[in-house]
Structures are given as structure tokens and as C-alpha cells.
């Protein structure tokens, strides 16, 4: 299915579908992508599926019509993408998925950080800081999101296993800051002795801090009233807040690496390269998830003020130059 | 010139008998033109209303009367032409208060706001304010109560307007219009919804005001009213001014000729020959009762017979008719059509059983104005338009064309939306719909309401003709013209039939019976 127009020697056309454009994290990804495409010498076509897998399927179709040689996507619904992958497989167009791992079908490479690890890291940090006892609120994302679910499950399991003395209140928030704030407020009223908050994404960041401030709970970590707050994403604002002592930790989701390695693997696929499970040259490991699906598990570092190690999890300081949040804007 | 109009008993309003009153006219419209798109509603029309007179404005449906009213009251500007009040140019269009000091109006279209209370409707936009600048509801209610007392309208000023009867609402409108203290009052078909007693009350009040020197512009399709209370009459036809003359100098036939542009006189009232007593009974109403509306109503209609169902508003005549056609389900009693009992409370069963129906008000129940004439006229007979639920547009249009010819509906074709027809023609479409299924029983409720004289004549002729083919007809109306074509008239009062008058009744008897003064036979 080579269209006659492109002779092959010119820069290969690749398609990248952005999953959504209304969160900080994905917007950083959107910002990085063209940057790395230029670096790698790829001709980039982009679409936005606005978190709607039907739209994603349609976008894939228009990529095909435009004769792309490879597609990177981040299907937020990992089940529904199967038919599209099948179509692409029959057309021999390689696919790299970012952030999520399709439930079925073949892809050339999955580039993602392990969402379960996010939950676990947050759990280890909070567990250590709380000394294994107390009450914690977990502000979940959307019930319908795989990544959110992974984080929820990992966090809850880790708490149950390692810190049984900690009671977790899980609140679904639909990734909505106002709703998150409302739920947190209710829980704080009910249990004024809540000592920790895990936000599964930075969407609830400002609202949570504001609420804590209002209740006089935004105090130094040494203060007994202090509430430990762990965020997730690693956007610049979180790093600043860690530096300022407003929150205690975050898990930095590597938006830059997502963009970089998505395109890296696409180019490799077009060039006919193949990969094997094992460590990579960029401080991560490729694992074989199932037959025909490799996954490059990028590291998602925990960031804390002192850069210490918590429950066996090492962390970086917020001003670490390797954090993507310190490299944009 | 001034009023020795037939039944008028009041003294002449213009003292200077025989000469034009001195001073400028109260209101004067000259050379008024108004277009709506391609419709010319007024074409260089004019009218002059002199101080103290009661001036009638008549014309067929669509002649432009109401349009002139809205221009005279400042609701909308004319395209060209000039309005003067007492010799002064009319106020600016935005200055509603200034307009209202010149002229008050009861519009043809209701200007009652159903959700608001009677008090607020009466005094809308004329609120009493307390010291804080906020509305003082208590004072407002008191003022409203005083206003209503003048009209002896017994309604609670705190009732919502939507809960009032038609007549009560009309009086609220009238009371409001008259409460501005304007010396010039326009009444656009104020009696269209009032029964005889209410009309009398209105006219008493109008005469009071006439005696106080208030000037009226009065619009009505009831020509006898013109002769009863008006001094001057202006006739509009096709958006143009035709004639202005003292009422006394324009006999009825000339008036009608001026309105219709057609010299042939109205036919004399028909003298029907009632069908032989042996004709089949096509409609048998037995002991029909609808609680709160009417009780124990029984009568029969024979093939070819026209039976009137008279009564004032609230007498139950409309409800009886609606029960016959299935719009209402009776609590007791039966309706037999042509020997069978259509299921009670089902219009489709009644239609299938051979009933044709002209509802009370064409806008409310008669027409889907956005749909074509063909669709409207054949709405009652979907089964004849094709098989298996499908319809053939060709067959529909053929049937519609037949009906259009039969009823002489003026239209370029069957696919014109009925909204494009004049009032009289719209009513003909409603009639066409009623006749489409060749009914054995035709039920008509106020079939000529709001249609002009010529159309009225045509429609009543049609009824006569249909009866001639063996259909039994019920005419529920309080208009004497409608009842005149009947072989006999049943008069209802407070939900019961109180009189059965064979043809040949006098107007007085029937009006008296409708008022509840039964003349024993």
C-alpha cells in the first residue's frame, strides 16, 4: 500500500494521535512530540481523539488514507482499540502505544510507565511518613480510566499489605478538581485526623492545597498537624510546590520520554529494526507482556524534597535536571 | 347622523345634531400603508374618529382592521402614513406611556398573562411602590379589587389568570383597558367570546362611558352590534378604506355590499323543510352525563335533520357536542351513531363510526397550520389514502382537490400550508376535514366564529346542503345566525336541556331561554 506519491527516500510520514488536550500532562506530551519528530527527521501528522475511542478509530482511518508509515497513539480505552489495531496489522502499519497497553492485538511497542508502580511508590512514601498508622484519602481519577484503576489498585493493595494500620478512603472524582475538593472536604469534616492525601493526578492539586490551607493544615512537615500530600504527574507546579514544602512528593510521569520514545520506536519499526526483552540504553527495561507485545517500561521517579529513599523506593529532588517538569516552558 | 340606530336607546352622543363636531378629531389616521413581506395589510387606508362618537370598523377577515388597531395604539409603526391624536402628531413609538394616555385598547389577541395573578394583570407595569422603591403588593391588590368592583366581576384578585373562565378574562382585559382613564378606547372584537348576558353588561358599561363623552372605536363581525351601539361606521376591504358613513344611513345590505365588494344581497334566511318524521335516527344521545358540565342530556337526530344546541357560555352545549365526538368521555349515558356505539371518549372511534366534527376553535383544535391544506383536509381519513399505513400523495391530493372544489377554498393548490389562507378559507378547510369521511352525523361547534359575513353564509349553505344528502347535523352555538338554519333548537341552561324549539322561534324566545327564562310551551 505504498501510495505512488512518496518515493521512499523522503522523510517517512508518521501519525500521532493525541488522546486529549485538556490535561496538563497530555499537553506537555503534545508540546514535546513535534520537537522530537523534527529531531528524528519524521514527517508528522497529528490528530486529537479527545478521549473518545470512536474518534480515535476514525483518526486512524484518516491516517491510513494519508499513507502514514507508522502510528503512535495512547488509547485511553484499552479494550476498544482492538479492531483498529487489527486493521492496522492487516495493512502492515506498525503501531506504538503510549501510556496504555491494549488488551488485545499486536503492537510494535508499548511505551509506558508502570501505573501500578505509581500507586505503590505513593503508598510507600505515605506509609513511611505516617509510620504505618493513620487515615489517608485517595482522590481517584475516573472509574472508567485504566491508569486510574491501576493506581488505585496498587495503592490499596500496597497499603493493605505493608501498612495495615492505615485506613484508606477512596473517592472517585471523574478527574474533576471541584468534585475532588468537595469529597476531600467532606472526609476532612468527618475525620479531622486525616494525615495523608494521595492525588492520582495533578488535577486536584490546587484545590487540595487550598482546602488544607483554609483548615490550617498546610503546615511544615515537622508540625504534628501536617497532612502529607502525594501527587502524581510531575508537572512544573508540583515540583515548585514540593520545593516550597506545600506538598511532600509526586510521581513524575515522563511526558518527555513518552514523546521521545514513541517516535524513536516508530522510526525503528519503519527502519525494520526489532527489539528483545531486556534492559535498554535509556535506563529502562523492555519486557514481553504477551506474545507479540513488548513493553518499554520507562521509569517514573518519585520526587521528594530531600530525595531520600522511602520503603525501598529511591527518590529525586524536585530540582533534578532529569525531571521533565524542569525542562519545559 | 347620530344614533337613532335601531335598538339604541341612548341619547345622541354628538349634541350638534347633523353637523360635524367642532375641534380636531380624537384620532386620525391618514394614508396608512403597512406590509408584511409581500402581504399588504393596509393600503393607503384612513380613518377619522371624532370626539364622543362610537365608531365602528368593519370588514372581512384579513381586511386589515387589527393591523390598523396596532398602528393606532403604537404597537407597531406604519410603513407610511400619519397618526394624529386631537390634532397632535402621535408620540414616539418607544414612549408607551404617552400612547396609553391617548388611547386604550382591548386587543383581538389576548394580552392576559396566564401565569400571573389577576391583580398583576390588571396593573401590569403600573405598580405601586412603597417607600423603599419596591413593589407594594398590598396596595396593588386593593387597587385591583376596586377596579374589578366597578365591573362586578367576582374574581379573586390573587387568582392566577389561567384559572379564570374565558369571560372573566375578557372582563379583566376590558377593565384594564378602561382603567387608564384614556378618553379614546378601541375594542377589537371584544364580544367574540362573550355570551349574551355578558355582552349586555359590556354594552351597559360602554353606554355609561359614551354618556361621559368617551370615544370608542369598535370592531366586530356581529353587525347587529354595530347598529346597536355605534354612530359611525367605516368599512375596509382588501386593505383599503371603502366608505365611512353614519350607521343610520347605511342599511345592512349596503354595509355588507361595501364589505364584500359584491352587490348581490345576502340571501334571505332559508326556510328549511324538516325531514319527514319517519326518517332514520342517525344520532341517539341517551341520558348523557358529564359531572360538573351537564346532566342527563337526551335527544335524537334524524337523517337529514339539523338540530341546534343553544346555550350561553358554560351551559354545557360545547361539552355535549365534544362528548358526542369522543373528545370527552361521559360519566354516564350513551351515544348511538347510526345504530352502533362508538367507544366513548375516543375520537377515532367516533370518526370511524361516521361522525364528522368541526371543533370549537380552528386554531386550537381545527388546524395544524404548518401543514398543507391537503394534509389537514385528509387528516381524518388516513385509511383512504393508501394501504398498509402508507399513503399515496397523489391520492391525497386528488381527494383534497375535490374538497377544495366542493368548498370553494381559495388556494393555488392543495400543498399550500393552511397558515397561508385567510380566516374564512381556513374555516372551510376545517369543514372539509369534517366532511372528508362522508359522515352520517356532522357535529359543528360555533362553525362560523370569527368568519366574516360572506364566508358565514357559504358555510351555513354547505351545512344545509350536507343535511340534504341525509346526514344528521348538530350545531352547537349561541349565534342566532347559526341556529337559524336548524330544524329545531335545543336550548341548554346550566347543564340541562331546558327547551326544544321547533323552527320558527323568535330571537327573543331563544335568548330568554338561554338566560334560563324558560317559556313554557
Amino acid at each position: 500500500d505504498n501510495s505512488p506519491g512518496d518515493g521512499g527516500s523522503t522523510t517517512p510520514v508518521v501519525g500521532v494521535d493525541y488522546p486529549r488536550s485538556d490535561t496538563d500532562f497530555w499537553n506537555s506530551y503534545i508540546k514535546y512530540t513535534p520537537q522530537f519528530a523534527t529531531e528524528l527527521g519524521l514527517d508528522l501528522k497529528t490528530t486529537n481523539s479527545q478521549n473518545d475511542v470512536a474518534k480515535l478509530t476514525s483518526n486512524v482511518q484518516s491516517f491510513i488514507s494519508q499513507g502514514v508509515k507508522g502510528i503512535a497513539m495512547a488509547p485511553q480505552d484499552t479494550a476498544a482499540i482492538a479492531p483498529a489495531l487489527q486493521t492496522l496489522a492487516t495493512k502492515k502499519i506498525p503501531v506504538v502505544t503510549i501510556d496504555t497497553r491494549p488488551d488485545q492485538g499486536k503492537v510494535f511497542m508499548v511505551v509506558r510507565a508502570d501505573n501500578r508502580a505509581y500507586g505503590e511508590k505513593a503508598c510507600q512514601f505515605l506509609g513511611t511518613k505516617l509510620g504505618g498508622a493513620g487515615k489517608v484519602v485517595m482522590l481517584q481519577g475516573d472509574l472508567a480510566s485504566v491508569n486510574g484503576r491501576d493506581r488505585t489498585e496498587a495503592f490499596s493493595e500496597c497499603m493493605k499489605k505493608n501498612y495495615p494500620g492505615i485506613k484508606v478512603f477512596g473517592e472517585a472524582t471523574n478527574w474533576d478538581g471541584a468534585l475532588a475538593s468537595q469529597k476531600l472536604q467532606i472526609r476532612l469534616t468527618e475525620h479531622p485526623d486525616i494525615k495523608g492525601v494521595y492525588m492520582q493526578s495533578s488535577f486536584a492539586l490546587a484545590g487540595t492545597l487550598q482546602l488544607l490551607k483554609q483548615r490550617g493544615l498546610l503546615t511544615a512537615p515537622t508540625d504534628p498537624k501536617h497532612v502529607f500530600v502525594v501527587s502524581n504527574d510531575g508537572i512544573p507546579k508540583e515540583l515548585q510546590d514540593i520545593g516550597a514544602g506545600n506538598i511532600d512528593a509526586t510521581v513524575s510521569q515522563p511526558a518527555d520520554l513518552y514523546a521521545k520514545y514513541a517516535l524513536h520506536y516508530l522510526k525503528a519499526a519503519i527502519d525494520g529494526k526489532t527489539f528483545q526483552p531486556g534492559p535498554t540504553d535509556h535506563d529502562s527495561t523492555i519486557i514481553q507482556v504477551r506474545d507479540g507485545v513488548l513493553e518499554d517500561q520507562l521509569s517514573a521517579p518519585l520526587v521528594t524534597l530531600d530525595g531520600g529513599t522511602y520503603g525501598g523506593v529511591p527518590s529525586l529532588k524536585p530540582d533534578d535536571k532529569s525531571l521533565w517538569g524542569n525542562n519545559i516552558g | 347622523m347620530s344614533g337613532n340606530g335601531k335598538s339604541s336607546t341612548r341619547p345622541p352622543s354628538a349634541p350638534d345634531d347633523g353637523r360635524a363636531p367642532a375641534g380636531p378629531p380624537v384620532a386620525e389616521a391618514t394614508d396608512i400603508t403597512k406590509r408584511y413581506g409581500s402581504t399588504v395589510a393596509l393600503d393607503h387606508a384612513r380613518i377619522t374618529v371624532r370626539s364622543g362618537e362610537t365608531h365602528a370598523l368593519v370588514g372581512r377577515n384579513g381586511a386589515g382592521k387589527s393591523t390598523l388597531v396596532s398602528i393606532l395604539t403604537g404597537l407597531q409603526p406604519a410603513d407610511s402614513g400619519e397618526i394624529r391624536f386631537s390634532g397632535q402628531p402621535a408620540p414616539r413609538p418607544s414612549d408607551r406611556d404617552a400612547w396609553r394616555q391617548q388611547v386604550a385598547c382591548v386587543y383581538q389577541k389576548s394580552t392576559i398573562i396566564p401565569q400571573l395573578t389577576v391583580a398583576e394583570n390588571l396593573l401590569i407595569n403600573r405598580y405601586d411602590r412603597g417607600r423603599s422603591g419596591l413593589i407594594d403588593w398590598r396596595t396593588l391588590r386593593r387597587r385591583a379589587r376596586d377596579l374589578l368592583a366597578v365591573w362586578s366581576v367576582d374574581v379573586d384578585v390573587d387568582a392566577r389568570a389561567m384559572d379564570l373562565s374565558v369571560e372573566q378574562r375578557q372582563f379583566v382585559e376590558i377593565a384594564r383597558a378602561l382603567s387608564f382613564g384614556a378618553r379614546f378606547i378601541i375594542l377589537d372584537e371584544p364580544t367574540a367570546q362573550l355570551d349574551a348576558a355578558a355582552i349586555d353588561r359590556l354594552f351597559d358599561r360602554v353606554r355609561d362611558l359614551q354618556n361621559q363623552g368617551v370615544t370608542f372605536l369598535y370592531i366586530s363581525h356581529h353587525l347587529q352590534e354595530i347598529y346597536e351601539i355605534c354612530d359611525m361606521v367605516t368599512v375596509f376591504r382588501d386593505a383599503r378604506h371603502i366608505v365611512t358613513a353614519p350607521v343610520a344611513e347605511l342599511p345592512r345590505s349596503e354595509l355588507v355590499a361595501a364589505m364584500t365588494g359584491d352587490a348581490t344581497a345576502l340571501e334571505a334566511p332559508r326556510s328549511r323543510t324538516a325531514p319527514a318524521g319517519s326518517a332514520d335516527v342517525v344520532l341517539d344521545v341517551a341520558a348523557l352525563t358529564l359531572d360538573g358540565m351537564f346532566q342527563d342530556v337526551s335527544f335524537q337526530v334524524r337523517s337529514g335533520e339539523v338540530v341546534g344546541l343553544a346555550g350561553s357560555g358554560g351551559s354545557g352545549r360545547t361539552e355535549v357536542a365534544e362528548t358526542i365526538v369522543g373528545l370527552r368521555a361521559p360519566h354516564a349515558g350513551t351515544v348511538t351513531v347510526d345504530g352502533r356505539h362508538p367507544r366513548a371518549g375516543s375520537v377515532s372511534a367516533a370518526l370511524a363510526g361516521g361522525v364528522g366534527f368541526v371543533p370549537q376553535d380552528r386554531h386550537h383544535q381545527g388546524l395544524v397550520t404548518g401543514m398543507s391544506i391537503a394534509d389537514n383536509a385528509t387528516m381524518t381519513i388516513p385509511e383512504r389514502l393508501g394501504s398498509a399505513g402508507f399513503l399515496s400523495t397523489r391520492r391525497r391530493d386528488a381527494i383534497a382537490n375535490t374538497l377544495i372544489d366542493e368548498l370553494a377554498i381559495k388556494t393555488p393548490g392543495p400543498d399550500l400550508p393552511v397558515s397561508g389562507l385567510s380566516g374564512g378559507n381556513q374555516q372551510k378547510v376545517v369543514m372539509a376535514r369534517a366532511l372528508a369521511n362522508d359522515p352520517r352525523v356532522l357535529v359543528l361547534i360555533t362553525p362560523t366564529a370569527g368568519v366574516d359575513v360572506r364566508s358565514k353564509e357559504f358555510l351555513l349553505d354547505k351545512v344545509d346542503e350536507v343535511a340534504g344528502t341525509g346526514t344528521g347535523v348538530v350545531v352547537a352555538s349561541d349565534e342566532l345566525d347559526d341556529l337559524r338554519i336548524c330544524d329545531r333548537v335545543l336550548v341548554m341552561f346550566q347543564g340541562r336541556i331546558v327547551a326544544d324549539m321547533p323552527s320558527g322561534w323568535s330571537d327573543h324566545d331563544i335568548v330568554a331561554a338561554m338566560e334560563g327564562l324558560t317559556v313554557d310551551a
Partner: protein
Amino acid sequence: MPESLTAADTATDGPAVTAGRTPRRPVGKLAIARLRDLALVPAIVLIAVVGQIINPVFLKPDNLINIVQTMSEIALLVLAQTIVLVAGKMDLSLESTFGLAPGVAAWLTVAVGTGHGIGLVPGAWSIPVTLVVGALIGIANAALIVRFGLHGFIVTLGMLIVLRGLLTGISGGQTFFNLPESMMYLGNAVWIGIPASIWLCVALFAAGIILLGYTGFGRSLYAIGGNVDAAKAAGIRTDRVLWIALIGASVLAALGGLMLSGRLASVAASQGNGAIFTVFAAAVIGGVSLNGGKGTMFGAFTGILLLFMIQNVLTLAGVPAQWIGALNGAIILIALVVSRITGGRAQE
């Protein structure tokens, strides 16, 4: 009451009179009515030309099929909504039915363990289950609106929230996958080189055109939407017609949802969320009146087609991700405004 007043009045004006003076019979009028149906065709052509200039892929058969295929499921919602709107009602809950009906089918048929279904009934039941759920929702709507006389907007707004919540409830917010074969068929089959969903969508719209224009039932819908009391007085069983319309609409929505689930081989907990905005926009751009009694199936079809063509062009044009929403919205708003202006009447 005052509403009918307005309706009657506004109808009075308009172009009728000129026609009134030419005393010929048939001809003209119908042609104009048909023309109004074609109101969006110039816009569609325009978008096609613009699209082709922006990206030569636009007019390739592949891309055209892509457009119609992606719109086919939502188009069924538009079809359903048009029926309801013509009858003078509104059904906001269609978007939730679109997700819940196949969701319930998946929940009941997907085996335990393979995709968080409960595997109660065999896979072959999935299509009947979907349609039955659609019908039940329609019955609930109709009961509340027709039987109890509640306001359609309010009832279906409430239903929208409840049904969406039910889908989240049974799915636990997760996506159902490993759907039974029968559920996947409609969304994936290809008949004579063209996806089945396109055939189905086009066939249903053709049926819709016939239904609205050439059956007694269809004319009843217009009559009821135009003036329900007049329809009643003409012997139309208004309640029955409304029941059928509301139930039929829900079943169509369920069918649309089924097709989408098939195409995506899954039912997401969010399936259909927000679709109602697009549906209303398409119907209205296509000339269907929100006040009832007006509009055609063909017009509605051009409405949804136009919207999806616009989206496709925007995608092909590579508009920056964060501005697609605003641009799409602006084009819709302009289309709405223009279609209302050219459609004449201010208020409808």
C-alpha cells in the same frame, strides 16, 4: 395556551400571499419544500471543496467511507431524535441509551473472568437484549411523558443521568470487552465492499424518509408536533403515536450503540457521553424544529453529514489539538445561525 397563540400567529405571515394571487393549482410549492430540504447541500459541497484543497486525501473513497462509517452510529441517534422532535417532544436520554443498552447486553453475555461480565445468558442473546433494553427505556420515558404528562425535557434529563449512572454501576466504570460474536457483527461486517453499518444507516434513513413523508404514522407525527389538540380532534390517537415514537427512538438509539460497540469490539462506560449535543446540533442545522411539526429526515441526514465532514476536514488540516474544539464549535455555531437565517422564521 399562549404558546399555541404564538404558533398560530407567526404562521400567518410569510410568502404565502404571493402564491395566493396566482390562481394556478398544483406545481411550485412542493418544489420549494423540497428545495428547503436541500438547504445544506451547498454547504456540504463547499466543505468538500475546501477539504479537497486542504488535503487531497479528502475525496478518496477510503476517506469518504471513513466519514460515513464513523457517523453512522451517531446518525441513528439523529434519526431517532428527529422522530421525537417532529412529534414535538425531546429525548435527551438517547445518549445514555446508546451506551446502556449494549452495556447491559455485554454485562449479561460476557463470561465471568474474561471481561467483567456476569455471563448470565449466551452470546446469541446480545442483540435481542440490546433492543429490549432500548425498548424498556423507551417505555419508561413514554410512561412518564405521555401517561403522566410530565415535561419531556425534564424526564429525559433525569433519565440521562440515571441511565449513565446505571452503566457506570454495572460496569464498575470499566470497559466491557470480549464481546460475543453476534454483538460484533453489525459493526464489523462488510457487505459488497462497504461496511454494513453504512448500509444500515443509509437504509434506515431511507426508511425514515418514507416513514415521515409517506405513511399515515409519519403524518401523525407532524400533526401532533404541529398542534396536538388538532391532531386529537382529527381522530389521531396521539398518545399511541407518541408511545411508539418514543419507544422506537430508544430502540434506534440502542441499535446505534450496538453498532458502535461492534465496531469498537467493546462497550466503554462512557459510551455516548456528550453525544446529545452533537445530535441536537445536527438535527437543528438540518432544519428540524425544536418546537415540533417541522423538518425532514433528509435534512437531518445532511445535518449530521455536514458535522462529520467538518470534523474530518479539521483533522486532515492538522489544526492544533487544543484549538479543534473551538473551531469545530465556531463552525457549528455559524452553521446554526446561517441555517436559521436562511430557514426564514425567527422563532422556530
